[in-house]
């Protein structure tokens, strides 16, 4: 891996080129509050390079909150045709956690029935990653997602002072994007800074008291834990944690007719396993009626079921769920609580 160095001006020039070429999405500061959002980039100067987290993760460009799957025309001979919307798109400024989130979704949507709607959007996507400074909600160090080795074309790591960046070119597409952009080879000390940056990033206030790879095994003992009830007691069941999560991908499917009533679309919308009706069937039976059951299911899906199935945790430690949670249900706290309670239980029963 040869590393180069690019200035902020170089990045603006790169973005300027990309905007001329096609659609670019980058983090923006939302007017009126200190939150950030991914949005279409019109002016290269609007792209924020240094930010903690966006409200919604970059997944919304591969798995939009709402999209059509099928278009149908009614009549004597109804027809149904697939709708696969995928246009070239460059995602700029994606943090390692969000890249891990996309890699997790890749595995799920490619499994068994590879889904065109998601995968073709991904195939049309170029990713320029950027490294970050964790805030008090981040726990990527615990999840093993503080750095990333694949899933991007270019990756930027800020050098001291944030006016220059180390630039890793990972793909041919990345190389092409850099045509006509000034970069220079990184010096030894600059390359050394990369390690220092990562070391500093790994120092996080909040950490899970277990190696992430032990979680699926640990979770085999947590099913009946009183900890679920304890934390679910304050949960509103609003589903915000689901909606802001880079690795959540559950959806609902519904029909929307055009005003003419002659045609319509079968659309999918983000759904959430924390919402009360998620596991309800037609006869009224609800297989996860209690909030504690739903909380447990969500955690098991992230740290055990899908982890075991696809070999990576379905949590990238971005902290969005607790950052946006109205009652501060914090996965780090819940998992540590589970581990502690379980240890006590084991000790007490000898």
């Amino acid at each position: 891996m040869t590393l180069q160095v690019i200035s902020v001006d170089g990045i603006r020039a790169l973005l300027s080129n990309l905007i001329r070429e096609g659609r670019v999405v980058a983090p923006h500061e939302r007017p009126g509050d200190d939150q950030y959002v991914f949005d279409d980039l019109k002016d290269p100067d609007d792209a924020v390079l240094r930010y903690n987290s966006t409200i919604l993760p970059a997944k919304k460009y591969a798995f939009p909150p709402k999209e059509s799957l099928v278009h149908y025309e009614l009549g004597d001979e109804p027809t149904a045709t697939p709708v696969v919307q995928a246009e070239p798109l460059t995602l700029f400024g994606v943090h390692p956690c969000d890249i891990h989130g996309l890699l997790a979704l890749d595995a799920a949507f490619a499994d068994q029935h590879p889904e065109a709607n998601y995968l073709e959007k991904r195939a049309n996507m170029r990713v320029i990653g950027i490294d970050c400074e964790p805030d008090e909600y981040c726990f990527c160090a615990s999840m093993g997602t503080a750095s990333v080795e694949t899933g991007y074309d270019l990756f930027l790591t800020p050098l001291y002072g944030w006016d220059e960046f180390l630039l890793e070119v990972a793909t041919e597409a990345g190389e092409q994007m850099l045509e006509g952009i000034d970069t220079r080879d990184a010096t030894g000390p600059q390359v050394g800074y990369l390690k220092m940056h990562l070391n500093r990033k790994m120092q996080q206030e909040r950490e899970i008291h277990s190696d992430v790879s032990n979680l699926p095994l640990l979770f085999t003992g947590f099913a009946d834990s009183p900890v679920w009830e304890k934390h679910a007691e304050k949960c509103y069941g609003c589903g915000t944690c689901n909606l802001t999560c880079p690795t959540c991908f559950c959806f609902d499917v519904l029909d929307e007719m055009d005003l003419s009533l002659g045609s319509g679309d079968r659309v999918r919308e983000w759904d959430g396993c924390m919402l009360e009706g998620f596991a309800r069937v037609a006869g009224g039976e609800n297989f996860r009626e209690e909030r504690a059951e739903r909380l447990r299911h969500r955690f098991y899906r992230k740290y055990a079921y899908l982890y075991t199935k696809y070999g990576m945790p379905y949590c990238c430690g971005c902290g969005r769920c607790v950052r946006q949670c109205l009652v501060n249900i914090d996965p780090v706290e819940v998992i540590n609580d589970l581990i502690a309670t379980h240890r006590e239980g084991v000790t007490a029963s000898g």
Partner: protein
Amino acid sequence: MASHVCECEVERDLYVPRMATITKIDELTQMEKLFRLEMNDGVGLAQQPGQFVQVCCFGIGEAPISMASMDDSTAGFDLCVRNVGNVTAALHTASEGSIVGIRGPYGRGFDTEDLKGNDILIVAGGIGMVPLRSLIQALLTDRQAYGAVSILYGFKTPAEMLFAEEVGRWSELGDVDVHLTVDRPHPDWDGHVGVVTTLFPELSIKPNQTKAIIVGPPIMYQFVITEARLKGIADEDMILSLERHMKCGVGKCGHCQINSKYVCLDGPVFTYSELKYMWEAI
């Protein structure tokens, strides 16, 4: 980039239904209608007994419905639909000639190869008879491949019995032992009264060569499993089918997940030994 995302061939038609025409409608009970459908392209579903399809009424939506008939090498098949939701209500207003969309068949059905050579004990509760009908049809088509076949079928009231004529024919075959029961006494009923488990004491089975196939409402499972265990049937010889509301049918939407299993891919048919350590399953 993204070439590394998936080397696989994507399924562009994953969510696109094929058209089918309703060719016959029988009103079985106040709540249930039996639909005969025919695929418009003439290509049958080649379904395994116990699989399901996603049925759609355009403009209303999709719902997962169990196959009610075995594959008969034609483009036709049966669905028995209880009127309980938006899509099923729309289906109940459909008439012969109406066109609906079909995706599937999906899931793991009953493995008739695995059942062969065994005695078969079928326990049906209410609408659980619908997927079981597809299995019973398959058993009867190849009757000599199986040992003794017993069917226990319970329903709330006589009026709620499904496939009454057909069940009557099964009991007249001579080589199928059919026991019926209603939950509570009823003026129109002179047969056995009590929930389906009350049929177990009079049952004589050889546990080591019996497979029990149990389908009914969630409440029924624990009780029937207890009775089947008392009869000596092993957990891996009890076969159940679970109901969940699949929105996609292809392992993506998350709605039918029980522990690490997707009912749409890994089920809906499971052995009890697969389910017994999974909370929320039954």
